[in-house]
Symmetry: C2
């Protein structure tokens, strides 16, 4: 089955206090995004990689590719105003049957095993979403009150999230809703049942300077 | 109002692959537990600190105190077979009115501001529990299915959790139940409404070797 990966980094985060968007910051010896691309390439050298970044950074990205002698083949697609629109733009470039994994560009520490579990299950059952157990006490807030929950019934959702290409394109053929925080929620709204697979604990989303420090610390440990 | 802190480290974790329990491992220049004790002392030099550790480590702890020339005054209480029992044992030593904060010994990166918010609110309203927003997509699992939730209605719970001493002692005067994952759940089961205050993102619970690496990275950043 043909495999695609959409690495989504269309946004220009403001939480980093950095002059370049976080996805371009350097982690270890490479910009964050190049780590993410490399993970999918290392999993499957023949995977088709689509990178979604803001259009105004196309030229900057090309300079980075040269600077870091980064040669893994990928297509570049302009990000939209929202994550939802960025994914839509990227899906427009996929016109073949297969499985497409959507992955947050700022999760460079996804393991090969997590990627494999996601594709394996999606290839069998039509979709798969990486997830982890909740390791802290969890409470629900409601009308100014809050109460304890049994954390065993809840899951932290990560990416990659992989889907049959045609099914995901159809699912995205709707207007944006507030509840769409990831691709699984869009896919579910289209009537599909979601399959959860095990992610990896280190697969953190880098959104703050603290996260970057944590990722630096984990990098050599994981790979 | 008189202030107490129970630093709970009664367990002997097995996830660390270390020869000593995790609470005694060194973070930066001090064993994890000494960092935790120091946070509360730095917040209030007159706070009464009770440390709960396994009885078989009392001698080892005394050696550590000497080795690290650690002189912050604290009482040592034997941990029980469960966290619940350890807290009960510690509460038996408190016979005065005031506010007691219970804190996981393996959360050495709690900030002074988090401790202050917890005590301030508990002194006003009888209890306060440190918490953080959920920053990932969240799903609920049920009967082999799962569905997306609105994460804005959920909170990650941390420690410290602070309570009126008499109220907490009465709340703990029950048999253990599976749902008691923290002190707030015990207190809530006794009929109290829980007040949430803001924790700090770096206030992680060290339970795996990866967590220790992360904590090392954050240590110099936070303090």
């Amino acid at each position: 089955m043909k495999r695609f990966a959409i690495i989504t980094a269309g946004g220009i985060g403001t939480r980093m206090n950095a002059t370049v968007p976080k996805q371009f910051l350097v982690l270890g010896n490479l910009p964050i995004l190049m780590h993410s691309i490399k993970r999918f390439y290392d999993f499957d050298n023949s995977i088709h990689i689509i990178l979604s970044i803001p259009e105004e950074y196309f030229e900057f990205w090309k300079q980075l590719l040269k600077k870091y002698k980064f040669e893994i083949k990928h297509r570049i697609v302009a990000g939209g105003n929202t994550r939802f629109q960025s994914i839509k733009n990227s899906l427009d470039r996929i016109n073949e049957d297969g499985i497409v994994a959507v992955h947050d560009g700022v999760r460079p520490l996804v393991s090969k095993e997590t990627i494999k579990r996601t594709f394996d299950t999606a290839e069998k059952y039509g979709n798969a979403v990486a997830s982890c157990d909740i390791v802290f006490s969890l409470r629900k807030t409601e009308n100014g009150k809050n109460f304890a929950l049994n954390r065993n019934f809840y899951k932290e959702i990560q990416t990659p999230q992989a889907f049959n290409t045609g099914d995901l394109k159809r699912a995205y053929n709707v207007d944006f809703m507030e509840e769409f925080t990831d691709d699984a929620s869009v896919f579910e709204a289209a009537g599909h049942k979601i399959n959860l697979v095990k992610g990896n604990r280190e697969n953190i989303k880098i959104t703050s300077p603290e996260d970057l420090i944590i990722a630096e610390a984990l990098l050599n440990r994981v790979f």
